[in-house]
Symmetry: D2
Amino acid sequence: MIERYSRPEMAKVWSDENRLRAMLRVEEAFLSALSREKGIPSGQLARLRRSMDRSLLQASRGKEAVSGHEVIGLLQAVSARLAGKAPQLERYLHYGLTSSDVLDTALALQLRQACGLLLDGWRRLASRLRGLSRRHELTWMVGRTHGVHAEPITFGVKLAGWHAEALRNIERLKRARELIGFGKASGAVGTFSQVGPEREAATLKALGLRPEPVATQVVPRDRHADYFHALVLSAAALERWAVEIRHLQRTEVLELEEPFGDGQKGSSAMPHKRNPVLCENVTGLSRLIRSYETAAVENCVLWHERDISHSSVERVYLPDAHIALDFMLARMRTILEGLEVHRGRMRRNLDSSHGLVFSQRVMLRLIDAGLGRLKAYDIVQRNAMRTWKTGQAFQRALARDPAVARLLSPRELAACFDLGAYKRSVRALLRRGGVL
Amino acid sequence: MIERYSRPEMAKVWSDENRLRAMLRVEEAFLSALSREKGIPSGQLARLRRSMDRSLLQASRGKEAVSGHEVIGLLQAVSARLAGKAPQLERYLHYGLTSSDVLDTALALQLRQACGLLLDGWRRLASRLRGLSRRHELTWMVGRTHGVHAEPITFGVKLAGWHAEALRNIERLKRARELIGFGKASGAVGTFSQVGPEREAATLKALGLRPEPVATQVVPRDRHADYFHALVLSAAALERWAVEIRHLQRTEVLELEEPFGDGQKGSSAMPHKRNPVLCENVTGLSRLIRSYETAAVENCVLWHERDISHSSVERVYLPDAHIALDFMLARMRTILEGLEVHRGRMRRNLDSSHGLVFSQRVMLRLIDAGLGRLKAYDIVQRNAMRTWKTGQAFQRALARDPAVARLLSPRELAACFDLGAYKRSVRALLRRGGVL
Amino acid sequence: MIERYSRPEMAKVWSDENRLRAMLRVEEAFLSALSREKGIPSGQLARLRRSMDRSLLQASRGKEAVSGHEVIGLLQAVSARLAGKAPQLERYLHYGLTSSDVLDTALALQLRQACGLLLDGWRRLASRLRGLSRRHELTWMVGRTHGVHAEPITFGVKLAGWHAEALRNIERLKRARELIGFGKASGAVGTFSQVGPEREAATLKALGLRPEPVATQVVPRDRHADYFHALVLSAAALERWAVEIRHLQRTEVLELEEPFGDGQKGSSAMPHKRNPVLCENVTGLSRLIRSYETAAVENCVLWHERDISHSSVERVYLPDAHIALDFMLARMRTILEGLEVHRGRMRRNLDSSHGLVFSQRVMLRLIDAGLGRLKAYDIVQRNAMRTWKTGQAFQRALARDPAVARLLSPRELAACFDLGAYKRSVRALLRRGGVL
Amino acid sequence: MIERYSRPEMAKVWSDENRLRAMLRVEEAFLSALSREKGIPSGQLARLRRSMDRSLLQASRGKEAVSGHEVIGLLQAVSARLAGKAPQLERYLHYGLTSSDVLDTALALQLRQACGLLLDGWRRLASRLRGLSRRHELTWMVGRTHGVHAEPITFGVKLAGWHAEALRNIERLKRARELIGFGKASGAVGTFSQVGPEREAATLKALGLRPEPVATQVVPRDRHADYFHALVLSAAALERWAVEIRHLQRTEVLELEEPFGDGQKGSSAMPHKRNPVLCENVTGLSRLIRSYETAAVENCVLWHERDISHSSVERVYLPDAHIALDFMLARMRTILEGLEVHRGRMRRNLDSSHGLVFSQRVMLRLIDAGLGRLKAYDIVQRNAMRTWKTGQAFQRALARDPAVARLLSPRELAACFDLGAYKRSVRALLRRGGVL
């Protein structure tokens, strides 16, 4: 992922060094499980761990250039480094293992690290949402369906919905982290042909992972594709909110504004601009993450006990998607922390549709007063269409319609236009959304 | 979905009639929850249920053509049907509800039905896999990585891996069914503005569903996109197996053949052909199902309290993907039930690579005998490359190499080529795969 | 594709009958090319054509159920139909052909028909756009970037952009139609092993198609994937416009409204609603069409001289995407024909941002008057931000700023706020967009 | 794109420096077009060009960190650099332009550079294919459909098909390069509100680009999505060939082998392995490139006169896809240059199916001898199925079948098994594929 969208901590998880480190950790855990049987002194094991540094990475790359094989390159580099100093280790390093044992298990370690960071990001975001939702529990605004005024809601309820979505995404990532916490040390074609299942058990236990029940030569890729969907849906949630803020920041609406810094410029041509560019950025990055999913799923269909076509795909999409999502989470936090909420404008917009947002209530009162539903609907719609056209206050229009006046007293009609009635379940909704 | 790929039971779930029926079931459950408060006699409720038949569907469509609104079309048709016979019901039908309450809750009912059928399909397939895997516990064949001979496996182990994948998919679908078992009756913009949460609770309980904690006007679409991934991965699993069978049926390999019926023809031009067309069909249908996922995820990003852009997408992709997957499951069952397993050929193929498949074992024995890993690798590779080139038996080549002969006695070398050693963990793998 | 989104003419292209008819046309053209050499009387050829009817389709299906092969089913059904009446034809039918010769060539015929209908749809839409664009050449509205007021445009210019996009799509579809106008009659594995290239030339010429230079057993699928992209982009164009109309129909903006029929209802709960549901429908269908592209591209990678995994995919995505796009084109025409354009509202919205939309002009005048760009930018931005905050008229704010007043006379400043200046290139843009 | 898959020349096109350089080139071309009117001395223009160096990039980034705007950051950095030395230039730099004028036009320059490199890659590959195809004009091998032996082909014909596909991709990329050679200098919202079309004409002419007829504030993204499809199909072609080589390298087939270097290792566990890892790498990268397409198409649907959600997507997918495809082209060239073609094995495989590959020929001779097609088919199929089962030579089986012997003399039957007859159109096919 390009630097522009990378934050250091997540980028580090996906660095070449960290990959190498994870690989060596796996080799070491396996050697350790083998050490008693093969008589490998623990001092030699310690040497292995210490051998990891940047120069090893360089050496390993140099060897790979000849062998065309990443793991062999690493083994050669380690051997060269330890030459003569750790003879048993040199002999038994990677003993009975195949590259995928190391690569897939190391990948599981990286994915768990990365997933942990994403969970942190989500939790901090959720916490911010809780605060905002509580503060705006009774900040009235119009609810919109199809982009058109529907009925009153509060901004707090909208945010409670976001919070509930955040919780769903946290649950998904937690499940994903479980899903992906599987490694293997079953060797070539996964049959434990050279070293039995006990070594795998010990190795993975030491690494905090579980053994893939039946691996081919690789951990099956449906696991990774399943895992990845949690990222895609996380991104889609952030995209949905970003799109919402963009809508609410349009000039005619202007109920929300994402933060706009001192010294910030909106346009090189038009000095007056304040644009929701952070939200647009989040929108775009979600497209990118979403697009990787096809490749993730295609990776499931490896041939026989495995081919290696998934490798190039994973070297790109896994780092890129994690880094981009981590960035989006941080960016959304920035947005929410600096979010300007224009309560006055929310209220003015709510009022601007002449009371039409109370139409359902009028219809139901007419029904309660004895009208059939279809009839009541027609009467209310007829008046509403007039209001759309003329801009006349809806309540007045209804009051003048004999079909209404016959059934509802002025007072009853007025009660339909009372925002108070819409308050009834607000608190319950915040509670249901986990905000209270 | 076109008829060619539709099985009646699943097609029925997605029929217009069943959709309508589910919608009426929701309306009825809600009315029932409201009946005491609004004084709706239970006889009138029963009328509602009885009103569902094909002619109602026609009538409903006719009304929709005018109103441009599916739910209103239905309400009008029902009202016309009940005119005068159930006055309270006519008045309170859909009282305080919005269309999405009915549509999304009805969709949840359909999805649970459909998901149940998929689970049945998977369970039957898993059972078949168990039988096959046990039968072939010790049917030796070559394990292949990169399409190239790797090490010996048994066909039973391969199938145990499939079975483990089947179990993962069953788990996924069970979770998916839970995920999707949410409805809503919170009305316009999801705020319970007209009828409170208790009615929703009663309604959904009667339908066996749970309330969406904070809905906008719709059940949030991340739920559906999450659900759908289980179908995509199910399809990918079947595709993986289909591709495997296709590989194993190629003329030069011919270890497996999918069933080929009496009277079946493989080609209009070449009468000799027996092609794995059922497996190719499964392969193609998985591409189709996979492709829908992008649309499913894009649907998450609805505007504000909802727009209706998801509706057209769901009217197509949900039925199509369920029907296609149901068809694939049945087809794979047919394939496995008629699968011809050519054990003799499996063994001949295993033997055809001159013993190269035992190369790792030789290398490890050289290491055990005191060689460093890299050195041992080079010696074995050198001999293997000669065998690739000349076709000379690998064991003989090694026996003649002084570097090998110095360390391994002829007997020790011969032991490396003993299939028996590869048997050690077979049973454990079948157990791990849930087969035993 | 479900009936709801199917128009009869396009649906007919993709009917089973039409598919069969196209297949028979190919068989007949090939037989005809062979007739002199093989002595097939022309009367027998005529019988073939006449044999096509619905009952042949049924018979063909019945045969296919046994042979598992669509083309063989057809050949058997035709033979049974002609039994004894056309002996030479019966013998030489399909002589030297393979199924793909018939299927792929017939598909080319269908695709050309279908593409023709799409082109008609686009042309009619373009014509409507031209009219609208001309009519609104000088209907002023605000141009928006990031959803925020930018500078004045005219609705005619916006539509000229749509028209230019329509023209691009027409060009794309014309190219696509050329691309797809390729058939083959080169037999099994495409080598003309039984009947030479001259027969292919004659056959395809009679059908108005060109020969695939080097086919495998099939016409290569990159052709179809290339073709399909024209549909995807067509759909994306319509989606872009639909999204634009949805934006402009939101309550706070309300510059456009899609047609809302008499008797139409916007919501089952809220009688006041007028929602842009047609546009939302177009939006959703584009997602669907877009999603098929992955499958179309995956189809390119067939094995060896072909496998048949593409077939199931194409049986679904090609009809569905054509039918959906045809529907979208018609729907967009309906939308544009009934589009309500609220000029007054456009003007009010343009004026509502207090003159900020003229900020660039002020900045450039300051530069012309001698200021450096960065300095000019800062002065204008400073005043603009004040206007955003206070709602004070931008012109007045500037007039009071000594940094401005020093360089621009009141008259010069006022000239910056003259809409007339923005009119200069309107006509040129309409011309460039092909509208004039 | 990660370094592993980057080649320097293509990476350079997408470097930050090159991006900046392209942006400055656009600014300069525009200034130059404006210079007479605004009186900008040519010496100042030259300064602008000289100001581009790495430190400007750093300075520009620093400014962007404050303004949150890439183009403004650059303008500020340039201004700081030129402070006092080029006053007119400083004033008129970017005069009347908006950021997208610079960004989109610069992107067009980069895309043309990048596309040129891809075309080079394709041309070199095509040249290699021509050589290989000619050399193997008469290298017989079996043609396979469904992975099953079909009829004889020559390797030269297979490669002629690849060459024809290469030519199609070259045509596509040439068209794509035309498509993308459009820039804009029409300013904010694309209306030439401050500087007229003549300046745009002069600017773009100097850059070798054409003006977008009607831009919004950006060059419309359907252009980029259309362009991008050429990359996706290029990748799919390479994937198809890679998959083919992988198939032909499987142990049981072994007709081809990708190059395997001295010192190369196939597996860390199994020293005998020679795996088609280069081809698998090509396969994976195609998945990646294909996956980006969804995002490219979603980018088409920008809001109003533009939003900037496409930007983050393009910063990633455009470089990544070009770099990956460039790498794939080079890798495929490496593969073809070192490809080992095992003619002997090809012939042995062809012969291994007992003559079944000649079944069509026998059927047609029976038809020529007077049998009806269906009858002839059944006779030949019956014998073929026996051969499949028993491995008995197909010719012998037929010879013993009275139904055959009655119509074909032993000599006529033998003639059906003569490879010579399949040679007839080989040369024509190479010619049709552009190889001769």
